[in-house]
Amino acid sequence: MLVLTRKTGEGIIIGDDIKITVVELKGGGVRIGIDAPREMKIHRQEVFDRIKQENKEAIRWDIADLNELSTILDAGRRK
């Protein structure tokens, strides 16, 4: 991994169209500004990882689960 030292207001250029700027250092956190093409997806790492994990868990089901779930929902509706 490339590690660079930057001060507030300084930036990094990645490729032709990505610019990252250190906006502010506050209370142990860093505020980062990102200029990138609109079609580029940008997410906080932990949020992305959580969704990935959720999707991996969501494929663990079987038809019995689906049937049971449908029955529960149906019973709820009829009340």
Partner: protein, 160 residues
């Protein structure tokens, strides 16, 4: 036989029109589907970026749930539902960039569906933090991560 990939079979529909159907072996058994009528995820789902084509499967039982089966990976299928059936105030509006990916303009419909999870403790949750945008016009879908939302990726499914 050494077959790899989907197998093409001839299928005659009721009106006598010939249609090429394909078959896949899923973990739920053999599924026959119309390759011209698959749901396309141009970016896959998060963590499943390579899986671009899904078959929409109706639920045998009545109700708000349905499921999608990956054409390319027999192990991958998701239960989906309309989250607004359960959370009436849940709204996701696609931005211009997302509409572009879905191939629709502002006048065309974009529906929202959510992934349903059944945990090993039998807890049933909806992923409201990463909804799927679905454009019926183009049969394309996109899973997006909502930034700065209070909606959780493990929102309990309220039993009505």
């Amino acid at each position: 036989m050494g077959h790899s990939g989907p197998q093409r079979v001839e299928h005659y529909s009721g009106c006598g029109e010939e249609k090429m159907m394909e078959k896949i072996q899923s973990r739920f058994g053999e599924i026959e589907y119309d390759p011209d009528n698959t749901l396309q995820f141009p970016e896959g789902l998060i963590g499943f970026e390579d899986l671009r084509n899904f078959i929409v499967m109706p639920n045998e039982k009545e109700g708000p749930l349905f499921w999608i089966q990956s054409v390319d990976d027999p192990q991958v299928a998701f239960i989906l539902t309309d989250p607004t059936d359960f959370y009436y105030d849940y709204r996701v509006v696609p931005d211009e960039r997302e509409r572009e990916k879905l191939g629709i303009d502002e006048t065309e419909d974009c529906l929202i569906v959510s992934v349903v999870s059944v945990s090993s403790e039998r807890k049933i949750t909806l992923n409201l933090a990463a909804p799927i945008l679905f454009a019926p016009e183009t049969n394309r879908a996109l899973q997006v991560i909502l930034e700065g939302t209070n909606f959780s990726s493990q929102t309990p499914l309220p039993i009505l």
